[in-house]
């Protein structure tokens, strides 16, 4: 029996079908990413698990129990919101302690667990600050600590990194992954950022128009996309002779598909090429190894091996 299972989960807003019969089994300790463009139903799914939105049909079971019969306040889930939703009138320590207070944890135990959790997210020195006095990244960690301190059954992350700048986002991805591994909490991440989903999760659920297009490990979904939508959403693709080929799988060889370089863009660790061929425009990504590369206007031969 799966730890958490969504069974035919459906949500209609008027005539609009936001989530359409989504079924998913999540194992204990697993990190799942719900990935898709805005309006694909990923956030609605998260809100149904949290209990803020009631499903039109379907069931959610946690260790076999019917989660929908339990009030949101009693579900014991840890949620990190996109806006963090910290309590601005409380200090960091008070924010983190709030959930424990609601559970009726004794004051001494509360202080101990708050300190432990703040150490886990690297904010032990900030317990007396107010959220307003902290940076976006620090507020994010407070939100994470507040969700984790109650030892939730499931950790729900709603676009948690989307308000951070690119560099900080990468750092937080690594840290989030480490923290999740340390505490081992089953985690569901909602994101529209394929890089984030692939970097963090054990399995990805690629969603489109309320349905799961593919459920699987990031590597598998990337290498063997089930549908053209998945292929396109998880990265750049070329459609050559009816086969989808990832740009980084194509290289320049002595012979092969003949083409002329239309544009060449240098991106530090790699070169991005657009090559005009008889089969249309082909995107090629080549690692920057320091060697000289074909210039714009050069005639090149493209080679790739077709995936089995």
């Amino acid at each position: 029996m799966a730890f958490l299972s969504l069974e035919g989960l459906t949500k209609k807003f008027g005539a609009h079908l936001a989530v359409d019969g989504l079924s998913l089994d999540v194992e204990k300790g697993e990190f799942i990413a719900l990935l898709g463009p805005s309006g694909c139903g990923k956030t609605t799914t998260l809100q149904m698990i949290a209990g803020f939105v009631d499903p039109t049909a379907g069931a959610i079971r946690l260790e076999g129990r019917d989660l929908l019969a339990i009030k949101p306040a009693k579900r014991g889930l840890g949620i990190v919101f996109q806006s963090y939703a910290l309590f601005p009138h409380m200090t960091v320590a008070e924010n983190v302690a709030f959930g424990l207070e609601m559970q009726g944890v004794a004051a001494a135990e509360r202080t101990k667990r708050v300190t432990e959790t703040l150490e886990l997210v690297g904010l032990a020195a900030f317990s007396g600050r107010f959220p307003r006095q902290m940076s976006g990244g620090q507020q994010q960690r407070v939100a994470l600590a507040r969700a984790l301190v109650i030892r939730p059954n499931i950790l729900l992350l709603d676009e948690p990194l989307s308000n951070l700048d690119a560099k900080l986002r990468e750092e937080m991805q690594i840290e989030l992954r480490q923290i999740q591994r340390t505490v081992g909490t089953t985690t569901i991440l909602v994101t529209h950022d394929q890089a984030e989903a692939m970097a963090l999760s054990d399995r990805i659920v690629v969603m489109n128009q309320g349905r799961a297009e593919q459920i699987g490990p990031p590597h598998e979904a990337y290498e063997r996309p089930a549908t053209p939508f998945v292929a396109n959403f998880l990265g750049k693709t070329n459609l050559v002779n009816g086969a989808t080929v990832r740009p980084e799988k194509i290289s320049f060889g002595p012979s092969g598909l003949v083409g002329k370089v239309r544009t060449r863009i240098f991106q530090g660790n790699h070169w991005l090429y657009q090559v005009d061929t008889a089969n249309g425009l082909v995107t090629v990504i080549r690692q920057n190894t320091g060697e000289a590369m074909p210039a714009e206007g050069a005639v090149v031969h493209l080679v790739w091996s077709v995936a089995p």
Partner: protein, 283 residues
């Protein structure tokens, strides 16, 4: 070009000085002049009016009553207005717009017409308010509303309610829409969410609304004049009477100036207190 900002604001400054500062200074000066039944106003410098206002228990009672009424109006406006704003904020259109209009309604009606309406509702022992209260069993004998502080508080709270509702509503608008869900997910019940999460965050709004309502209630004229009449005077109706009935302008000026300065002291003191209390948290 450095002078440009000052030159540009000069017309407004001149207007302000002309219509506010000059009459105010003249009123202050007037309060030091002498007055007699037969000699009228004498432009001399004496402290007689101020001595009278500050030592006579009659004036103490007036000012004490004025601020007592303002306090209860503020309290009533906060107790009713804050929940009203919260409910309004949770309504969906078109109800929100409709009820906002109902709340702002009092501001659209002439203060005299509105207060006369209250006078009709209160009127005597067979007034509609008393009839309604008796028929619901809340009271057994009619309550006096006309010429009482109770009546004044009710009528003033009604007209000043919109200021409180709007101030609280503005504070509610700044609330993170997810914050209540965040508290619920951590195990808080609806009452705890209101008391521990929503109320502390709208408190600055309630306090700034309270400052506005208090200032307007303490300086209100038409409502106390109609509901209280000449039997139950407050500072503003007292000043009016001194000016237009007794014709003792200097004494009326002293009352008016004292009311102004007392109000400034209360409002400035309160808002500095609020600012200091919340600067750290809400920046």
């Amino acid at each position: 070009m450095r002078a440009a900002p000052y030159l540009l604001s000069l017309p407004a400054l001149l207007l302000f000085a002309g219509v506010v500062i000059v009459p105010l200074v003249m009123t202050v000066l007037l309060s030091f002049h002498d007055w007699g039944q037969y000699k009228g106003i004498e432009p001399v410098f004496i402290l007689k009016n101020w001595q009278e206002v500050l030592t006579d228990s009659y004036f103490h009672e007036m000012f004490w009553r004025t601020f007592r009424i303002a306090f209860f109006v503020t309290l009533l406006a906060a107790v009713l207005g804050a929940p009203e704003a919260y409910i309004l904020n949770r309504m969906k259109s078109p109800w929100r717009g409709l009820f906002l209009l109902v709340i702002l309604g009092p501001l659209l009606i002439s203060v005299v017409a509105r207060t006369l309406g209250w006078a009709l509702l209160f009127g005597g022992n067979s007034g509609l308010v008393n009839k309604a209260l008796i028929s619901t069993g809340l009271i057994s004998t009619p309550l006096p509303f006309m010429f009482t502080e109770t009546g004044m508080v009710v009528a003033l709270a009604h007209v000043l309610m919109p200021y409180m509702v709007l101030a609280v509503w503005a504070a509610l608008q700044r609330l993170d829409p997810q914050i209540e869900n965040a508290a619920v997910a951590l195990g808080a019940g609806p009452f705890t969410v209101l008391r521990r999460i929503v109320l502390p965050q709208v408190m600055p709004g309630i306090l700034s609304g309270a400052i506005i309502v208090f200032a307007l209630a303490a300086s209100a004229f038409a409502t106390p004049a109609i509901i209280g009449g000449r039997r139950l005077k407050v500072a503003s109706t007292l000043a009016y009477d001194e000016f237009l009935n007794t014709l003792n302008w200097p004494l009326g000026a002293a009352v008016a100036v004292l009311l102004l300065f007392a109000l400034i002291a209360v409002v400035v003191g309160a808002s500095r207190l609020v600012e200091r209390r919340y600067a750290q948290v809400f920046g």
